[in-house]
């Protein structure tokens, strides 16, 4: 490897007074002071009163979403619980005598769905593995609470925070398809 010898010429008299360096620095300071104080262009935020809006694709806290009819999308398949590397997700399946799903034609929904936000590492595997588009990493990045218990978000809280995701309604679509069938074998009553 060849060595390049950098030319280090001695300072001129003017340079050795340090004045050009001082003036250069003063110019930058004055420009910023002018921009913020007079023109009002701020570069910092008054956090936490003001909050940064994260860009699209940011991996914030995972929340459960509802469909366009306000029904729970999660069917309690427990794949997110299985894939979750820090074991932050805990689902209680409905069991044989549990509550029926509130979504048209779906047979199952979780009895309880808990995410321990202290354990969550915001990796997004739950969103990736979900076959029902029911869990999404959203834009919340600053979660606080006064106790550990408060940081375990339950189904109700997750659904409230998650909002609506209007995707395809596959279970409803199945029912519509079945109803169009010449012979409709599903008991209609």
């Amino acid at each position: 490897m060849s060595t390049k010898v950098v030319d280090r010429s001695p300072l001129t008299f003017y340079e050795s007074t340090y004045l050009p360096a001082l003036l250069g620095g003063l110019k930058v300071t004055t420009r910023h002071a002018w921009n913020t104080l007079v023109k009002g262009k701020t570069v910092t935020m008054e956090y936490p009163e003001q909050k940064w809006v994260v860009p699209e694709g940011y991996r914030g806290a995972p929340y459960l979403v509802k469909d366009q009819e306000g029904a729970t999308k999660c069917v309690s398949c427990q794949l997110c619980e299985f894939v979750c590397p820090p074991k932050a997700i805990r689902i209680t399946p409905p069991g044989p005598n549990g509550q029926k799903a509130d979504r048209t034609n779906a047979e199952k929904m979780p009895q309880e769905f808990e995410i321990n936000m202290l354990r969550c590492i915001f990796c997004g595997l739950c969103q990736e593995v979900c076959p029902e588009e029911a869990i999404f990493l959203q834009k919340d990045y600053s979660l606080t609470g006064e106790s550990r218990a408060e940081m375990i978000y339950n189904k109700e809280k997750l659904l409230k925070l998650g909002g609506t995701h209007a995707g395809i309604q596959k279970w409803k679509h199945k029912l519509e398809e079945a109803k169009e069938q010449e012979v409709f074998p599903v008991a209609t009553e």
Binding site: C77, E107, P131, E177, Q181, V183
Partner: protein, 551 residues
Amino acid sequence: MTVKVNGKTLQVPKTMPDWQGKPQPTTMLQAARFAGVDIPHYCYHDKLPVAGNCRMCLVEFGTPMMGPDRKPVLNEDGSPKIAKSVLPYEPGTSRGAIACASPISPGMEIYADSPATKQMREAVLESLLINHPLDCPICDQAGECKLQEYSVQHGQAGSKFVEAKVHKPKEVDLGPRIVLDDERCVLCTRCIRFTKDIAGDDALGIVNRGSYNTIAAWQEGKFDNNYTLNTVDLCPVGALTSKDFRFKMRVWFLKETKSVCTSCGTGCSITIGSREGVIHRYEPRENDAVNGPWMCDEGRLNYKWVGRADRLKDVLVRGQKSDWSTATREISAKLASAPAGSVAIIASARQTTEELFLLKKLATKLGALTDSIAREGEGDKLLVNADKNPNSNGARLTGIAFTEFGFNLPKIADGIANGTIRTLVVFGEDVTKHGLGADLLAKLDALIVCDILPNATTALATHLLPGAAHAEKRGTFVNVKGRLQKFMKAVEAPGDARAEWEFLHELVFNVTGQNGFVSIEGLFNQMAKEVPAFAGLEWAKVGDTGVNVPI
């Protein structure tokens, strides 16, 4: 007979046992197994008659070519020339055969991995998935579903099918313990064959035609024999699911522990599915010496008592909460100072052989009368035995009880009545129901009781020790036919409850002075040395399916 599987030449027997054990010509599927090749299949099952309807086991094959002189045609190198089976009207296309029902012939070559075989499997899977709802997220079979497995192994990602799927009934009530989802069914008829030929209850059949084919019970909800849940295991897809296990837990979370069913003297080999200390299901474990691949519904669903909220969790001395060391010390002192003949022991044939062995040691030292309690019920021709104790033979072989249970009970009752018996040790039985009423028990100085669930006897105990269920400890049972099987620990015992053998061996040491073994392996090996029927046995040598012992 010499055949070639995937280019590997091997010798296979001419006949193999069929589902009833009768010799039948060896099939291509069985021959492939000799070569370590597993041919995918849905409808074929070792213990059911062959139906050959799912077509999944189609394989390409070839047979030695015969000349007009009925002599094999040879290649230039002298090897026999093989004629691959092809469609008669389209000689370029191979004609597969279903491996489950096609017998082998000498010199046959089976191509289980060839491109043609692969293509056949892809086509069969594509057809099976035409009307499949793909509702794996809500299907209880997901994770142990052959349709999922074979789709990954042998299927293709896409489907040429663009039309709307045929929809069939879902959540059909087939019987008291079974739910049917007709959309998921691949019509393999395993359930129909099982209930007709094994359970002897011709309750199921296929109704309707074409794409509307559905499984149906002879009358709605009337698929109710005592073996219905085996069809859930048999069903290769999620069509038949258990009502008890429905939506309870995804199967991939379940820890599988090898164990033995305790509901009757048959002692079916089972697998306990548990997660984080909670038992979710029992499943039969294949053991041809005991239960084959089946078990009865009654035994399968008899697991909920293990997790009951009212389990005994505390050591109680005269009604006060105590701890193991205090109780063991007090009981040891009491027994060690007891005059010969003043102690009686009533053990349970629901205890493990090791525990009964330790109790017998104690009884010998104390000169105690011992007995156990018979539990009779109804049996059937298939698996259910009339003896409802899982370890009656264990109690007999260790010498705790005579051939006839309850022989010593009246003597013990008399002993208590006339004051010769001052201390009674009861393990796992409610003796108030067997001639030792509360008035008799009140005459005792000490009533030492170890049990799992509360009953009238545990309420009267001066020393109450919480015991462990079979799923919470290791041990062995000897079934009615003399099959000794070991079982493993699946879950932790609640509260202070402890495996009986653990404190019994302490007690035996304190009372008799004989040092015992602190591990179940050592204890079993010691028992094998001292009990003639178990001579030569070792814990490590008793396999998963058990060994026969003379009874």
